[in-house]
Symmetry: C2
Subunit: 384 residues, 2 copies
C-alpha cells in the first residue's frame, strides 16, 4: 500500500496540472480499489499508475463505464453512489448518492444518459451524463440486475423479484422512456449480459436451471430458454462465487462459460444454445475471458484457487498454460488489440501485466486491493 501511495503521489502532478501537456486518452484505464473507496488511473503504454482519485464510497462491489470521449469514468458503487471521475484532470468531477444499494449501470449510445440499476429501492434511475441531474426514475416493483445499454438510447434490465426484462427506450423523450416489458423470463434473474452487437440479452437465473435469451430484433421480443441444465447442480459442492455473466465469452459462434460450482468450463453453440463440450479446469471458474482475437480464453477462479489463471486454446479446447500471477486474482482486462492482459492481484496489492504471446510478466503496478480493471476502449463498445 505504501508503494501504491508513493506511485500515486509521484505521478499525480503531471496530469493534475491545469496547463498539463495534452495527452490522448485511448490508452488509459481505471482500476477499482475495492477496500479504500478509491480508483487508480493507469497508463497502458507506460505500464504505470498516473494518479489516484479518492472519496468514491463503498466500492466493495463496483463497476464503471466511460464517456464517449474517454475522459470521464462513471463509477457505480455498492452504496448507491454514482461518481463521475475526470481521468485527465485526475479529480472527482461530481458525485450523487442516488439510491441505498446499487448493482451497476450503463451509458446510452449517444453518451447523454447514465442509467443505474438499484437493489434498494429497486428499479432504474437515469441521469444526465454531463451534470448527473436526475432525468428519469423507473420503479419496477423489484430489485434490478444486469443493466446494459442497447442501440438507440435504450437500456435493458432484468427484475429479480418478478422475473421480467424491461427495455427502456429514451430516444423520443429521455425523461419518459417507452417501456417494453417482457414477462416470464424465469425465476430470480441474478445477472444478465448483452452481446456486443446489442441484439441478444442473456439472463442468468438463480431460482431455476437454464438461462433465458431475449432477441431485441424481434418485435415484440420473445424469451427463449437455453442451456436447460446450466446452473448450480451439485448441492453438496459449495458455490464460492456465483459467476457474473460478464464472465461469459463468445468466441466465434461458440459460448465459453463458467460452470456454476464445478471445476469446468462449458462450451455452447451460440445459435442453438446447446452445450457442445466441457473442459476440466483448476477450480471454480469466475471469468472465462477471450483474448480479443478469440484464439485463447483466460480463466480465473474462486477461492481457494484464486491464485491460479489458466489459458485455454479455443480450437483444441485444452488448457495450454497455467499461470500463478499473484494472490487473489479478481479480474483480467486485455489491451484492446489483445497484446497484453492486466490482472488484479487483490491480496498482493498490485496489478500484474502479462504478454499474451510469450506469457512473460511485463510489469506490475502497486494498487490497494484492486478488483475491476477497465480500459477506455470500452467507451466504444455496446453492452458494457
Amino acid at each position: 500500500m505504501i508503494r501504491a501511495c508513493l506511485t500515486a503521489l509521484a505521478l499525480v502532478l503531471p496530469l493534475a496540472a491545469p496547463a498539463g501537456e495534452p495527452r490522448g486518452t485511448g490508452d488509459l484505464g481505471v482500476v477499482i480499489e475495492r477496500a479504500s473507496g478509491s480508483v487508480l488511473v493507469v497508463d497502458q503504454s507506460d505500464h504505470a499508475a498516473l494518479c489516484r482519485v479518492e472519496g468514491l464510497g463503498d466500492l466493495s462491489h463496483a463497476s464503471l463505464t466511460f464517456s464517449p470521449d474517454e475522459r470521464f469514468a462513471y463509477v457505480f458503487g455498492r452504496d448507491g453512489g454514482l461518481s463521475k471521475v475526470d481521468i485527465l484532470a485526475c479529480r472527482l468531477d461530481r458525485r450523487v448518492v442516488q439510491a441505498g444499494n446499487a448493482i451497476g449501470g450503463a451509458i446510452s449510445d449517444d453518451g447523454r444518459l447514465v442509467a443505474v440499476s438499484n437493489y434498494e429501492p429497486g428499479g432504474v434511475k437515469v441521469f444526465d451524463a454531463e451534470t448527473l441531474d436526475p432525468v428519469a426514475d423507473v420503479p419496477m416493483g423489484s430489485k434490478t440486475v444486469g443493466l446494459a445499454d442497447a442501440p438507440g438510447s435504450r437500456f435493458a434490465v432484468a427484475t429479480w423479484d418478478t422475473g421480467e426484462v424491461w427495455v427502456l427506450d429514451h430516444s423520443a423523450d429521455p425523461a419518459n422512456p417507452r417501456v417494453t416489458r417482457i414477462e416470464g423470463v424465469g425465476a430470480n434473474p441474478y445477472d444478465a449480459l448483452m452481446t456486443a452487437d446489442g441484439r441478444t440479452f442473456i439472463v442468468g437465473l438463480f431460482g431455476e436451471k437454464g438461462l433465458t435469451t431475449i432477441d431485441l430484433w424481434q418485435d415484440p421480443p420473445q424469451p427463449r430458454r437455453i442451456l436447460p441444465d446450466y446452473g448450480r447442480n451439485q448441492p453438496d459442492l459449495p458455490v464460492y462465487k456465483m459467476p457474473h455473466l460478464q464472465g461469459w465469452t463468445l468466441a466465434g459462434a461458440t459460448y465459453a462459460l463458467p460452470a456454476v460450482g464445478l471445476h469446468q468450463v462449458l462450451w455452447a453453440d451460440a445459435a442453438s444454445g446447446r452445450e457442445t463440450g466441457r473442459t476440466p479446469v483448476a477450480g471454480q471458474p469466475v471469468f472465462v475471458t477471450a483474448r480479443p482475437d478469440g484464439r485463447e480464453l483466460w480463466v480465473n477462479f474462486a477461492t481457494p484457487d484464486n491464485g491460479t489463471v489458466e489459458v485455454i486454446d479455443s480450437v483444441t479446447r485444452q488448457v495450454k498454460r497455467t499461470l500463478h500471477p499473484g494472490a487473489g486474482i479478481l479480474h483480467m482486462e486485455f489491451t484492446p488489440r489483445g497484446r497484453e492482459v492486466w490482472l488484479s492481484a487483490r491480496d498482493d496489492d498490485k496489478v500484474v501485466i502479462y504478454d499474451t504471446r510469450t506469457y512473460q510478466k511485463l510489469g506490475e503496478i502497486g494498487a490497494q486491493a484492486p478488483s475491476g480493471i477497465f480500459f477506455t476502449a470500452r467507451a466504444h463498445r455496446t453492452g458494457l
Copy 2:
C-alpha cells in the same frame, strides 16, 4: 471552402494553445481533404471541425491509422509520404517521404511499428511509430497491396506481381521480421482485407475470378479459394471503380460485398465462402458498410450514382431506405456504437451527419473535397 477555412480558423486556437484545457480523444476523428493535401480534425460530440493540418502532400488516394492513445494519426499518402499528425496539438508532428508511390499502411498491435505498402519501389517499409525512423525494409520483388496488422507484431500483405501473401512477424526482432511466404494466392491481387479478429486475410484478384482467403491460425497457412464467380463478369458494362475490399462487411456469419461492375450487393456464407443471395441496388456499389449492430448495411455507389446512399435491412436483405446526402459521397464512417453515420460529400465540400435510427440529418461540417473519414475508435481494432 471559405466556410471550411473559417471553421478551421475559428476553432484552431483552443486546441493549439499549449496550456489548452485537457480533453479526451475518444470522440475525435480525421477527415482526408484529398485535393488540398490537408486533413480536418473533427469532434463527434460537437459535430464540429476543430482544426486543419496542412502540408501532407498528395492525398488523392490516402488512408490513415491511429496510435493506441488516440492522439496521433499516421497518414499514408499516394506520393509515398508518411505523415504523423498530432490531433490534440493540431500540428504535423513529423513527416517522411519513404517511397515514390505508396498505397496504404498499418500499425502493429503494440503500437510500436508503422508499416507502409509501396507500389514504387514495391515491398514494405517499417518505421518506428514514435520517431518515424526506419526499422525494417522488406523488398518483395513486387508492388504490394492490402497491408494489414495481425496480432503479435505481425503484418500481412499481398504482392501484385507475384501473387503471394507475405506475413511479417516482428515480435522477436523488429528490424529483422520472420517472413512466412504463401505462394499461389492467385493472379494480380489488387487489395486485401483482414477480419476483425486478425485470423483471416482475404485477397481480391484482378487477374482472375474469385478471391483467396488465408487462415493465419493454420501453420503453415494455406490459401483457400472462395466465391469462384466473384469479379468483373460483364465486359460490356464498364467498371467505374474497382471496389476496395474494405467495402466488404461481415454481418453475423454472412459477408455482404459489392458486386464488381453490377448493380448488386452479394451475400456469401463466411464459413463456406458460398454465395447465398443478391440484392439489387441503385448503382455500382463501392462500400457496403454494416452499422455496428449489424442490423443495417449502408451502401454508396460509383459515379454516376454517387449522390445516392441506400440502407439495406440485413435480415430481409431488402433496401429499406434511399438517401441523397450530397454530391460525390465517397465514404461513410459510423460512430463507434452506431448512433450516427458521417458521410463525405466531396463535390459539396462538406461532411454530412445522419442519425442512423431516424435517418434525419443532424448536421454538416465544411471540408475541402473530403474523402476518407476516420474515427479514433479504429485505434482499438485489428486489421484497420
